[in-house]
Symmetry: C2
Subunit: 302 residues, 2 copies
């Protein structure tokens, strides 16, 4: 029997990294959006041999332990000590890796949830292991707890699952435009000397958003943060300004990937499509994913 988990992609609008010795107390403050595409993980286990073998594949291609450290970490922590046999973990990503869509956390959480389902662990047990793997291996700080919550998330207390407090903006009239342009390494940015600027500007943005928690404030602060931290380069700014001409809220940069996102209204979809086709840029228009991740037996296409 295959077990399947779906974890939404998560894009970050602005953030404040908080790193402590205990991974379960580490995390981030900030805000972002969960999307109705993301990561699907399928688990197949066979208790057969005398040894334990873990196999991982990304988008159908087998990958080695070094390329899937987070998944191996999660799998080894979640498997019962006495389990021997074959464990196959198939991860499928709707967005490219390294572009800021929370794929790493999606793979970690999806893997943990399928194993939890299979071996009788709880949602929080699974999510804590996924968060720990993310923090230890530099995958991300706030994606797991945001993905656990869904919606337009505001992370008002940092930490792992059961520690973090995540709130939601309640609005349903927007779709999400994403324009993925390239990679940015989370780890490189977080180890650079602009971290203190990120923290300062992220806190400022969070304070402003909490005073008036609307999509408008979210996008204004996302853009202000992206420019104040200098993470947004000229190319991104230029495309962003073009997009802003045809939508009502400001667009901004995906943290952390080389890419843009915006909240757009139904009536703006056609103009946005026309513009991005003109600019010859890859893009996608998605719905906000409001719920929790899903895990269960996999019967086939829904």
């Amino acid at each position: 029997m295959l077990i399947r988990a779906f974890v939404p992609a998560h894009i970050t609008a602005f953030f404040v990294p908080v790193i402590k010795e205990n991974p379960q107390l580490s995390g981030s403050l900030g805000a972002g959006i969960n999307l109705n595409k993301g990561t699907n993980v399928f688990l197949n286990t066979e208790e057969a041999s005398l040894e334990r073998h873990i196999h991982v594949a990304f988008n159908g291609e087998p990958v080695k332990r070094e390329q899937a450290k987070i998944t191996y970490y999660v799998t080894e922590k979640m498997l019962p000590e006495d389990f021997v046999g074959e464990v196959e973990i198939w991860q499928y990503f709707d967005f490219p890796n390294g572009y800021g869509f929370g794929n790493s956390a999606g793979g970690a959480l999806g893997t943990a949830l399928t194993l939890a389902y299979k071996f009788g662990k709880t949602l929080l047990e699974a999510a804590k292991i996924a968060h720990e793997a993310e923090v230890i291996h530099g995958g991300g700080l706030g994606d797991v707890v945001a993905q656990l919550t869904g919606g337009i998330d505001i992370r008002i207390r940092e930490g792992g699952p059961g520690v973090a407090v995540v709130d939601n903006i309640l609005r349903d009239e927007y779709k999400v435009l994403v324009v993925p342009l390239g990679r940015l390494k989370t780890r490189d940015v977080l180890s650079s000397d602009i971290v203190h600027v990120i923290s300062r500007e992220g806190k400022k943005s969070l304070d402003t958003l909490l005073k008036n928690p609307t999509p408008e404030t979210l996008m204004n602060e996302a853009r202000r943060f992206a420019e104040a931290t200098n993470l947004m380069d000229e190319e991104l700014k230029e495309i962003s300004r073009e997009i802003d001409k045809v939508i009502s809220l400001q667009s901004s940069m995906i943290m952390l990937g080389k890419g843009l996102f915006a909240l757009i209204k139904e009536g703006e979809v056609d103009k946005v499509k026309e513009l991005l086709l003109d600019l010859n840029l890859r893009f996608d228009i998605l719905d906000i994913y409001w719920g929790k991740p899903i895990v269960g037996r996999w019967i086939g296409d829904e």
Copy 2:
């Protein structure tokens, strides 16, 4: 424009009441199940008159302030101070009031969510007010945070939204049988001298469930708790024993209503139906509601 919120019904399997001076630190530990029927709340506002008027209706029937204290409390706390005009709150319940389905919390949370949506507040701001109203007016202690989470919930830390920690059992092969037989007043039970027995047995059940968080343990502990606390009377026990003959997990009592519930497998549905028709008892068979409550603009039937 109508705003609509759906909040799942929530039945409690066992619990430990924790009452403190601060309502946001009060709550309960325990476990329960969210159902795919529950409470729908519709909000209509009209900024018109020079005065503020709040109108509340349960299942289409207007009710007075004294009959809807919790809803009035929530509405007055959630409305912007300077709001004048008409506020209509229509609450529709899929289950009867007082039978242990969390209607009171469903009405409170649904009302808070529609008002939050309308007036630009967040999910947690709304949920905190709903929890506070519940605690202050004796509606319930753990329903709001359980309904916010969905699924088969385990409340491992008490408190209001943002304080409580709620976990989930990850299993999807069960449906939920409910047999509502009559009312029980939460407030009467919580002010009686069996509260210390409830606390002791509830903690025992929670410890056992956390060691082995499966539907089997949940139902065994639910039944053990119901009998050890003497909340389950002879009539309930007798029907429960009849039900147990045709299902694989134990049935137990809904806390707190005069009624029974059970987790049943697809293949047991027909036998259960036959039995309950024979016994001439009202019943319903539902799915577990996995997600968060829903709030948004109401366009019409989905």
